[in-house]
Symmetry: C2
Subunit: 184 residues, 2 copies
């Protein structure tokens, strides 16, 4: 074996080690809120520690997503999106849905966010890590938690429980970014 062969062998071993460590990061080190099988845990109340993406309101109780919606993400996610126009791998969007409270005040007829009803979570997955898990697909992990039992993802699967409302925003990666001033 001459020196060129030795160099090629050393480089091959190094490349194998590097690729191995990268692929190892696929599921285990992906997110603090996702386990190795793709189970998404509830990040809880992030509204004062994370950044506010934006709020929106569906005031009519008969509408599908009635409520006052407040959406949060990490500040680093907003900065990444502002640079690239894409949500980075592992990005999380947390949406709180609250009752709509209202009153006639000196400001006018005013509506604000009341009692917490649910928390929806999306986790960006650029690698399609969990193809057999019904809570993962279309580039995201999807979960739905309720305050009475905050550890349990009550969604039956994102295709049944999440996609209907998000599909109209498919062109912006299933997120209606026009509602979020920092992303416009």
């Amino acid at each position: 074996m001459n020196s060129t062969h030795k160099l090629i062998m050393v480089l091959s071993i190094a490349l194998t080690l590097v690729l191995g460590s990268l692929s190892g990061a696929g599921a285990e080190d992906f997110s603090d809120f996702v386990d190795e099988k793709g189970k998404i845990s509830n990040p809880g109340d992030v509204r004062t520690a994370w950044s506010h993406l934006g709020s929106w309101i569906v005031p009519r109780k008969s509408d599908d997503q009635y409520g006052f919606h407040d959406v949060y993400t990490r500040q680093s996610t907003i900065e990444a999106y502002q640079k690239t126009g894409q949500f980075p791998d592992g990005a999380m969007l947390i949406r709180e849905i609250r009752n709509v409270d209202s009153a006639s005040l000196p400001t006018g007829k005013t509506f604000w966010a009341g009692v917490l009803q649910s928390r929806f979570v999306m986790v960006k997955d650029q690698q399609g890590r969990f193809p057999d898990n019904p809570h993962w697909g279309d580039g995201w992990g999807w979960a739905h938690f309720e305050p009475e039992n905050p550890e349990v993802n009550v969604s039956q699967g994102y295709k049944q429980d999440c996609l209907d409302c998000h599909v109209s925003a498919r062109g912006t990666d299933y997120v209606n970014v026009r509602g979020y001033p920092p992303l416009r």
Copy 2:
């Protein structure tokens, strides 16, 4: 002069220096956004760096405070309020007012925050630092900025331009805290 007298003299000088530095903090070191005469400057876009207190909406254009209102403060202010039930000295509340945009979406008839129209600022002043300044009183400094000329406080004085809407919340230090989930 014996050693006791010397000690008392040294302690007196030290106390004078400490008290002098404390009283010097009254106006000069009060806030990065308030000068020594009480002029309030526009902190600009804090929505991703500061914490979201809450949002509220006045959807009817004919109402006094028409718009989508997003309110921000420092995370440390929320933590202080949660401990004491009071806004700490120097606390700032920043309220963005935006147009109300809306559409019929799969979520239902949905309203969200559009283009920025104005930014209102309140600065907590527990010491009544600027008694002759028309933008200060009732425990706060008050300012109103518009995007076209963001350096200029366009308010004529808080009694004319701010108090009417806040006076109904006098019992909670002129802030309608029921609209802000972290303060409830």
